[in-house]
Structure formats: C-alpha cells, structure tokens
C-alpha cells in the first residue's frame, strides 16, 4: 500500500547534492593542481572567485539541469500558469518561469539569482496529490523564497565557508614555506610536513562542519519565513499546512479506521511510540520538522480567524 508520495524524496535531493558535490570536488582538485604547480596566491584567488561567480551565474541552470526540471509554457500547463499568475498579481510580484519535473514524488523548489530570472519548479506528483488551494500554498512558499532572495542568502553563507576554507589552506602553506604570498616551489620540499598537514585537514574539516551546521540553521529559519510569507500571500495558512502533511505523508497518520472497530481490537490501548524528538537529525536537516511547521501555520490560522 505504499504510495509513491509517501516515500521521502531522496532522489531529487540526492541528485542535486551529488551535482554540487562533484562541482565542488572539481574546483578543489583544480585549485589543488594550481597550488601544486606553484601558482601564486593572488592568481589562485582570482581563479577561485571567477569559479564562484560562474557557479553563481549558472546556479539556476545547474539546478534545473541536475533536477531534470523543464521550463513549461502556458500552453503546456495552463492551470499551473494561471494559478501562479493569480498569486503574483495579488501580491505585486514579477512572474517567475515555471518548470515541471516528471516525477511521482511530490516536491517543489525555487531557484534564481534575481526575482526576474527566477524559476519555480514543481513535480507532476505534487500536482497530482494537491488540490488547487494547497498548491497555491506551496507556490506561495516558493515565491517567498524568491522574494526573500534565499538563494542569494544561502549562496553567500556557503561562500563564507568556502573562503574560510581557502584562507586556512593558504595560511598553512604560508606558514609551511616561510611566509609571504609567493609559494613558489610549493610542489617540492614536501617531506616533514605530515603532522602539519594532518592538523590542517582537521581544522579544515571542523571549519567545514561548523559552516555546514550554520548553513542548515539559516536554511531552516528561511523555511519558517517562507511558510509565513505563503500564509500572508494566500491568506490560507491551513491549506499550506494541509499540503505539508500530504507531502510528508503525515496525513496518512490520521487514521481512517472507525473508533469502534479499533476499540474492539483493543488496539486503542497501545500507546503510540514516539521516537522522541530527533534533535540530532534536526541539526542536520535543511527543513524544520513538519509538525513544527504545521503547528506554526495553525497558530497563524487562528490569529487570522
């Protein structure tokens, strides 16, 4: 009885993470080669910044490509276009491009460097399980990400961690070879630096890990903000709450079996096992737990009524 949308959407996330991971590794290898070849600090900084700018510039293309999203015209998806147009018109926002991903798993994301060039992508599975009001809630959430420039915020946050990483590396090289920006001959004279390299790796790992957690925390906060923005755009927080429960499969937890039947089986007295609040898992996740988001949306609904 497991329906496709009950599964977690690991596929899409995995594809995108893998893409960016490969890109990052490529950069590091490339820069590593430059360092090995003895290119100086300033040229490397210039090359690294150019790479980061290029990634920023092409970020939406990379995201669309890695997720398999196709930009669709109004003729192909008139209802979806109409729905987005209604929300942007009501809230005085520029209309984003609309992309569709052919996947049974319900999901949506927004990307783009500016409001004008932004793209909102939804999966076919999302359109299948949500009614139009719930879909409006999800689109409102993504539009808020665009309005709040969350792609920029997260990219900047990641940029700092990248810069910290490079600074540390060069700092160590500088210390290793007697200072200066030079670094000429960096490829030779490698013996005896084993301990230093280990420390360097450890510090780099810690830096990366901490920035990873910080980025996740920022991201979770932006999710709450996007929920709030969606509620304001549509005026129907309960619909987004409903959509979130459907997407996460939480809706399945509201039983359909009659109380009288359940009582007869004595199953009622089994205390449902709650696997605690997985705070560690929460630290690593980019999205806050659905229960918490639904709770906040219901509070908004109550204050609106």
């Amino acid at each position: 009885m497991s329906r496709p949308w009950q599964r977690r959407d690991t596929g899409l996330t995995l594809r995108m993470i893998t893409s960016f991971f490969i890109l990052t590794v490529l950069y590091l290898v490339f820069l590593g080669v430059l360092v090995y070849l003895g290119v100086g600090f300033i040229p490397i900084t210039i090359v690294a910044s150019m790479l980061i700018i290029a990634q920023w510039y092409f970020s939406d293309k990379i995201v669309l490509w890695s997720s398999g999203a196709k930009v669709v015209t109004r003729e192909q998806f008139p209802e979806l276009h109409g729905l987005v147009e209604r929300i942007v018109a009501r809230n005085n926002l520029p209309k984003p491009k609309i992309a569709v991903i052919n996947s049974a798993i319900p999901n949506a994301f927004a990307t783009g460097k500016s409001q004008r060039s932004s793209v909102v992508a939804v999966t076919t599975g999302l359109m299948d399980i949500l009614n139009s009001e719930e879909l409006e809630g999800v689109i409102g959430h993504e539009l808020t990400h665009i309005r709040n420039r969350d792609v920029l915020v997260i990219t900047l946050a990641s940029l700092f961690s990248t810069i910290a990483w490079y600074l540390m590396q060069f700092g160590f090289y500088g210390g290793l070879y007697g200072g200066g920006m030079g670094g000429y001959g960096g490829g030779r004279n490698r013996g005896g630096g084993g301990g230093a390299i280990l420390i360097m790796l450890a510090v780099a790992a810690v830096t990366w890990f901490v920035s990873f957690l910080v980025i996740r925390a920022i991201s979770r906060y932006r999710e709450f903000a996007a929920d709030r923005g969606s509620a304001q755009m549509t005026g129907k927080p309960v619909q987004l709450a409903n959509a979130l429960m459907k997407i996460s499969g939480t809706m399945q937890r509201v039983p359909n079996k009659d109380l009288r039947k359940v009582e007869g089986l004595n199953a009622f007295f089994i205390i449902p096992v709650h696997s605690g609040r997985q705070t560690i898992a929460n630290l690593f996740s980019t999205h806050p737990p659905v229960e918490m988001r639904v709770q906040k949306l219901l509070e908004m609904e109550a204050s609106m009524a």
Binding site: T250, P255, N256, D258
Partner: protein, 211 residues
Amino acid sequence: MIDFLLKKLGRDGSIRKSKGHREEGIFSLTSGYITLETKLGLTSTNRCGICIKNVNGTYFSDVINEVQEFLRISNSEFRTEHILINDKYGYLWIMIRGISIEDILVASNGIADVITERGFKDQMLAAVFEFRKTVSPNPNLDGPQVDSPQFLIFNYNREKFYPFVPLAAQEKRRSDLELALTSIISKEIPWETDMTVWYPMWDMPFDKLKN
C-alpha cells in the same frame, strides 16, 4: 434510586461544581462553543451522541434504564429529548437533543456520572457533539460541503477532544476543516494532539433524532 438521581440533578449550577476532572473536559465546551461560533461560524446543532459498549446482562440494562429515568426526570429542567440506538458495531448510542448546548452538556455529563457510579466507566467510548456552519466569517475555508456536519469527538478513555469532519458518504475526511478546527479551539478545550488517535466514527445515528 430516585433520591440518587435527584441528588445528581442538584439545584441550579450545583452539578458543575461537583464534577471531577473528566466532566471538566466536556464542560470546557460551554465556553469553547462561543469561539467556534465567532471564529469559524460553526454553531452547535444541540445534538450529541454518547457511544457505549454494550454489555449483555440485566445489571447493565438496569443501568441503562436508570440513565433513561435520569433523562426523563431532567427533561423538565434541561429540555432534552433522547433515543437509544444499537449500531452495527454492537455499540449503544444515547442520542440527545436539547434547546441549547448547555442542555446536552449537562445531560451527557449526568449520564456519564450515572454510568460511572454503577461501575461501567470503561464501557463509555465517546461523546460526539455536532456542529454546522451557518454564516462564514472566513469564506476561504468553504469547500464544496459547506453544510455537512462537523463533529467534536470526546474520547472518554483519553479525556480529550478531537475533530471529525466526514466527507459525505465517502468514508473520507475533510482534513483542512479538521485542521481549521484544531487551530481555533485546541488551546481552549482538552485537545488530542496525537493525530494518530483521531479515529473517525462513520455513520453515526444523528439522523435518527427527528428535527
């Protein structure tokens, strides 16, 4: 026996004060229903059903007779009508209709008292209160079934309320309306926060009460 029943009835308001915490649960609706009316446009139909697991044996039927006797006596004070229905699950329903929500709250509370004192507390499954939408202060929430009843189910075992909005005749639920109910009233009355025990009750015999 009549003495006991009259004692249960008490004099104006004394019933409420003599209640334990379980009854406090149901009585929380005396203020809660105003919130439902002002914020969701839901009004009480002043009908409720108490669902009791049937027991074979004369002692239990004596208790049920006692309950009916209690309702008959209280009729003059609380203006309620009632009928008994046996459903296909083997449960006994005491369906009550009053003039105001206070009538059915006091009556259902009295019934619970009688049954508890006779030792059948564990047989009581749920008390169900019916609401309907009249005017809509929030047109956004109106779905296709604006007029379909919305229920608050009080589970006697867990002593908490939860929402149940059936989608007419489909054994499906309007979860958006259930969430809307939750958002409005969960802070005011004892609320079941664990959604996994929001068990529905299909085909409740409310239509057996004539209007």
